[in-house]
C-alpha cells in the first residue's frame, strides 16, 4: 500500500499521466475491437452466399491406339481466374471423318483467341460456339466435325456448354454424375419408346444409337447450355473429357479410382492410369481436364 502524500509531486504527476494514457488506450482498444467485430459480422452476412472457390487444375492428353491425336484441350490462363473465371474445354475430332484433328484444334484455338468471355452472357458464348460450328460447316460441308464440352467457372458458379457426346462429369459426395446430355440418336429413340410406353432395350442395341445428332460442323447446331448457373461446393471435382475416357472407365469406376482428398494432379494421374490399365484394344484418344474446387483462404 502506498501513501501518495509521501511521494514527490513529480512522481504523482507521472503516475496520473500513465493512468490517463492507460485509460485512453483501453477505451481505444475496446472501441476498435467492437468496430472490427461489427464490420466483420456485416461483411460475413453480406457475403455468406458467395464463397470463393479456388480451382486446382490438371489435365492429360493421350493418343490411345489411334495413329493420330484428334482430341484437343483448352484451359484459360489461371492468372485471370479471379477476373474472368476459368474456362476449360475439350474437343474430340469425329472418328470416321477426315480432318478430325484439324477441326478439334480449330475449336480450341478459337476459344483461346476469344477468351475472356462474359460469364453471365451465355447467349453470347452460345453464339460464338455456333459461329465456330458454322465456319467448320462452310469449310467441310459435313465431311469433318468435332464434339465440344466446355465449362466456365466463376466464384462458386458453373455454366457448361455441350455439342456432341463428350463428357462433363461432376463428382460430389463420392458420386459421379454426367452433367450434359449426350446428343445422339439414342436420346431420340428413348424419347419415342418411352412415349410409346415400352422399355428402351432396343434403343441401345440399335447400330445408329451412338450416331451424333449435333456436333461442331453441323449446320445451325443446337448448343446445349445452362440457362442459369449451377452452384458449386467445396471439394467438388469436375472432369471435362472426351468419350475415350468413359468408354474404358465408366463413371462408377472413376469414383472408385480416386479419393476426395487428392489434388487435381493425383486425380488426373489415377484416371489416366485407370484408362491405360483397362487395356482396351481399340482405345480411342483420351483426354480430360480435372478441376478440383477448394474453399480459398483470403
Amino acid at each position: 500500500m502506498y501513501d501518495f502524500d509521501l511521494l514527490p509531486g513529480d512522481t504523482v504527476f507521472a503516475i496520473e499521466v500513465a493512468l490517463a494514457l492507460f485509460a485512453i488506450a483501453f477505451v481505444s482498444f475496446t472501441a476498435i475491437s467492437i468496430y472490427t467485430l461489427i464490420k466483420t459480422t456485416l461483411y460475413q452476412k453480406k457475403h455468406e452466399d458467395k464463397i470463393n472457390l479456388m480451382c486446382d487444375v490438371a489435365y492429360f492428353h493421350e493418343r490411345g491406339k489411334r495413329g493420330n491425336q484428334e482430341d484437343s484441350v483448352y484451359i484459360s490462363p489461371l492468372d485471370q481466374l479471379v477476373q474472368h473465371g476459368l474456362v476449360a474445354a475439350c474437343s474430340d475430332g469425329m472418328g470416321g471423318l477426315l480432318n478430325g484433328e484439324v477441326v478439334s484444334k480449330y475449336v480450341t484455338d478459337t476459344l483461346k483467341e476469344r477468351y475472356p468471355f462474359d460469364f453471365n452472357d451465355q447467349m453470347e458464348i452460345n453464339k460464338m460456339i455456333t459461329g465456330i460450328s458454322d465456319k467448320v460447316y462452310e469449310d467441310y460441308h459435313l465431311s469433318a466435325g468435332a464434339t465440344l464440352v466446355m465449362v466456365h467457372i466463376m466464384d462458386d458458379l458453373l455454366n457448361f456448354y455441350n455439342l456432341g457426346d463428350s463428357n462433363i462429369i461432376l463428382i460430389r459426395n463420392n458420386r459421379a454424375t454426367l452433367l450434359n446430355n449426350k446428343q445422339n440418336y439414342a436420346a431420340i429413340m428413348i424419347k419415342k419408346f418411352s412415349e410409346g410406353g415400352i422399355d428402351t432395350v432396343d434403343a441401345y442395341k440399335d447400330s445408329r444409337a451412338r450416331g451424333l445428332t449435333d456436333f461442331v460442323g453441323n449446320h445451325k447446331c443446337n448448343v446445349q447450355m445452362t440457362k442459369r448457373p449451377m452452384k458449386l461446393r467445396d471439394n467438388d471435382i469436375i472432369i471435362v473429357g472426351s468419350d475415350g475416357v468413359t468408354d474404358s472407365m465408366p463413371l462408377n469406376r472413376i469414383v472408385s479410382h480416386i479419393h476426395p482428398d487428392q489434388n487435381a494432379t493425383s486425380i488426373a494421374r489415377m484416371i489416366k492410369y485407370g484408362v491405360k490399365s483397362s487395356k482396351n484394344p481399340r482405345q480411342d484418344n483420351y483426354s480430360a481436364i480435372i478441376i478440383k474446387l477448394r474453399r480459398s483462404i483470403v
Binding site: 457448361f160 452433367l179 418411352s194 448457373p229 449451377m230
Partner: protein, 180 residues
C-alpha cells in the same frame, strides 16, 4: 405462368398402381399417388384418391384435403399434393413421394407447407421409384439446361433409361416450371 408436363410409364410392372392427377380449378393442383408399395388393393386406393380429388373436396384447402385422404385411404398410402398459389406453392406429402425444387442453381427437397417461388424456379414431383435412378446433380443440371418442362422430363427419362432401360416398375412424375 406455370408450365407443366406429366409422365406415366408402366415399366415392367403388370399394371399401373401409381397415378398422376391434375386439377385446374380453382388453382393448378398436382397429385401423385404411389401405390406400388401397397400390399392390398392399390388400384382401388388410387381410384378413391382420384374421386376425392375430383369431388368438391378437391377444391378445399390442402390441410383439409389431406385430412380427408388420411381418413379415407389406407394408412400406408403414399401420396403428394402440390397446389400452385399466387406467389408460390403449397405442398403436402406422405411417404415415398416428394417434390424437389431447383432454385438459385441448387436443388432441395420441398418441405410440407407453403413455399415462395420466383421466376425460373423448377419443381419435379415424383415417386421414390423415379428418383431411385437419378442423382440430385443430374436433376439439377437438366433443369438448368432444358428450355421447357417437356425437355426436362425427356432428359430425366434418358438418365433413368441409361440405368435400367425403363424396366423398373411404374414411373410417375410431373415437372413444373415458373416461366420468365
Amino acid at each position: 405462368m406455370i408450365e407443366y408436363y406429366t409422365f406415366k410409364h408402366r415399366g415392367d410392372a403388370l399394371d399401373f398402381t401409381d397415378e398422376v392427377f391434375l386439377r385446374l380449378v380453382p388453382n393448378l393442383t398436382v397429385a401423385l399417388f404411389f401405390g406400388s408399395n401397397l400390399k392390398v388393393a392399390p388400384k382401388s386406393q388410387a381410384l378413391l384418391f382420384s374421386e376425392i380429388l375430383n369431388s368438391e373436396e378437391g377444391s378445399k384447402s390442402i390441410e383439409y384435403l389431406s385430412s380427408v385422404f388420411d381418413e379415407c385411404l389406407d394408412e400406408e398410402s403414399e401420396y403428394l399434393i402440390l397446389r400452385v398459389l399466387k406467389n408460390g406453392v403449397e405442398c403436402y406429402r406422405r411417404g415415398g413421394v416428394f417434390a424437389k425444387i431447383v432454385k438459385d442453381g441448387q436443388i432441395h427437397v420441398l418441405p410440407n407447407g407453403v413455399f415462395g417461388l420466383s421466376k425460373g424456379d423448377c419443381i419435379v414431383c415424383a415417386t421414390s421409384n423415379f428418383y431411385k435412378y437419378l442423382t440430385d446433380e443430374g436433376i439439377l443440371a437438366d433443369a438448368l439446361v432444358s428450355g421447357s418442362c417437356n425437355d426436362w422430363m425427356n432428359m430425366l427419362i434418358r438418365r433413368i433409361s441409361d440405368q435400367c432401360q425403363l424396366k423398373c416398375g411404374n414411373l410417375s412424375a410431373v415437372t413444373l416450371k415458373l416461366n420468365d
